[in-house]
């Protein structure tokens, strides 16, 4: 099972320019989370901060008892091995072929024999659907294949957390659909914690368990997918529906009067439901589409049940629309448990699934109850 990543009060500036401040969120273990945000809101900076490539000024990023912001260089190199990162263009080493690229971390970090390396590399290449292309150089293959090779390289050290920086950028919609399915399949197979940074609303609506949105140098919202998909928050609505009407402007925020006028015009046309389809798969008003399932023949995602127990525990903290959407996704046993009130409320306004003293909650087994 993947590990949780606790981000607390994180603030990052370049010189006098503040990128974002006071970002607090928890990536639940083994779940898929998506971070959205308009261009230039520092999503990639956030990703690089998570792996310690950039040092935020304040706050902490705790994972397996190590604070990535304040730990020593040596600890940082150790904790980084828990991470797998897919960079925007794969960031493959241009001078090596795909096989050597994927074998690189194994050869550097382990004393495995060349035949062991070979079997691991072949297994990972098979997992991402790249079998038979070992001898190709990164310059000779398409962008989609480069991303798959980048994922295979990120997988090779069996990471606990995998970060994807815009996996959809530069790909056609069909390849994005394949890549999304691959991400869900991988999650089912290795049960690591996933964080995807993207602009693609289709991905955001169907892939993740949790959604977050960065806007105006703050984390506007982070929570279960139902919370953001049903949210009435203007920024979230505007982003998920991919329209111009709303607080997000071309480069900076707009003034209030203009936003109000735009919103009135939008309502006059019939609101989001009648606004047609926006770019990047943005559509659907406040509907909560079904989540992608792993391909047939693969194991169930273990995170699904964990997440259901987590959100059932927090059910009372959400507004009615969100709670209804979550209820629709819960199995009967958890729903009964939540309604009977035997779930204790969690600390920190439901953001955490931990108890106040910090220990992980022991979920009573519903099947074992009378």
């Amino acid at each position: 099972m993947g590990v949780a990543v606790h981000v607390e009060g994180l603030t990052k500036s370049f010189g006098s320019q503040n990128i974002w401040s006071d970002v607090t969120l928890t990536l639940p273990p083994g779940e898929i989370s998506v971070m959205l945000g308009p261009s230039g809101t520092g999503k990639s900076v956030f990703l690089k901060s998570l792996v310690g490539l950039l040092k935020p000024e304040r706050g902490s990023i705790v994972m397996s008892d190590t604070d990535i912001v304040s730990c020593s260089e040596r600890d940082l190199y150790d904790v980084r091995r828990l991470f797998g990162v897919l960079f925007q263009d794969g960031a493959l080493f241009g001078s090596m072929n795909l096989y050597d690229n994927i074998a690189f971390p194994l050869r550097e970090h382990t004393k495995k024999s060349e035949s062991e390396v070979r079997s691991i590399v072949m297994e990972k290449m098979d997992m991402v659907g790249l079998a038979g292309t070992e001898g190709k150089l990164p310059g000779e293959i398409s962008g989609g294949m480069r991303k798959r090779a980048g994922i295979a390289r990120a997988l090779v050290l069996d990471p606990e957390v995998i970060l994807f920086d815009e996996p959809d950028s530069g790909l056609d919609p069909v390849r994005v659909a394949y890549l999304n399915q691959l991400i869900v399949d991988l999650n089912a197979q290795i049960d690591a914690t996933f964080l995807i940074v993207t602009h693609d609303i289709g991905t955001a609506r169907t892939v993740p368990d949790n959604l977050g949105l960065l806007f105006r140098r703050h984390l506007a919202m982070f929570g279960p997918r139902e919370q953001l998909l049903t949210s009435q928050e203007p920024v979230v609505r505007q982003f998920l529906n991919g329209r111009r009407e709303g607080p997000i402007g071309m480069s900076e925020e707009k003034d209030v009067a203009q936003v109000e006028a735009e919103m009135a015009a939008l309502e006059a046309r019939g609101g989001d439901q009648h606004n047609g389809v926006g770019p990047k798969g943005a559509s659907g008003g406040e509907a909560v589409p079904p989540q992608l399932e792993p391909s047939p023949g693969l194991p169930e995602r273990k995170a699904v049940r964990r997440r259901q127990e987590r959100v059932a525990r927090m059910l009372h903290t959400y507004d009615p629309a969100t709670a209804d959407a979550i209820r629709a996704s819960l199995p009967a046993d958890l729903l009964a448990l939540a309604d009977s009130g035997s779930y204790a409320p969690t600390a920190a306004g439901g953001r955490e699934w931990r108890t106040e003293d910090g220990a992980e909650l022991v979920v009573p087994d519903p099947r074992g109850r009378p």
């Binding site: 320019q17 490539l53 980084r80 925007q88 960031a91 493959l92 241009g94 971390p105 390289r153 050290l157």
Partner: protein
Amino acid sequence: MTATPGEKPKAPGLLDGKLSPLRPLRASGNLFAFALDVIRAVFRRPFQLREFIQQTWFVASVTILPTALVAIPFGAVIALQLGSLTRQLGAQSFTGSASVLAVLREASPIVTALLIAGAGGSAICADLGARKIRDEIDAMEVLGISPIQRLVVPRVLASMLVAVLLNGLVSVVGVTGGYFFNVILQGGTPGAYLASFSALAQVQDFWSGEIKALIFGLIAGIVASYKGLRAGGGPKGVGDAVNQSVVITFLLLFAVNFVITAIYFQLVPPKGQ
């Protein structure tokens, strides 16, 4: 950025923060910190032998031919200058020894420095810069591999080794070129030229040249790697980094050359005193 009330909005200036007296200090401090990191990483195992050999071959292949081609006219110029100067002074018998001295002590380390910085350093800087902007360096760090240990140390050691070897090459080519121009073109006597070889020059001159070359190789390798790893802002950033690395290396090399020469004359007494 939102303007705080009460604060007068200011137009952005061309020189915002660029005239701060701390800027050059911070830049040189960063360079020295980087150099210390590299020196510390030299002793960390495992040593990247494969990368070292590849890089040595690479730096050698981009520098050997230009160095030889530069060394021949360089030796010739020294021979021509000395040939006429010694004739004016009536010291023709010292032509050979003076030209050997000039080539060994100054010409060959300087030619080596120019080529190592201009050809080897710029190639190293461009290579690392291109990797940096393609996120390869970040990817390497995320995979838990230190780019300094994996990439920079082999390159710095390679440029040091190649500099030492090049210095030997330049010495031989320069002295041979000097002999050719003096004896064949200026009509000097071969016997006198050869006989006076060791009249002024001594073995220490050769060693000082090699030590200079070693240090020049170190500086060129470190500055090129430092600039390459800090390249940013796309392909133009790589070009800028290469440009800066060559300029900074030249400045440092000539300054260091002066210091080493001054120390040398304090430590090694000239022959015949």
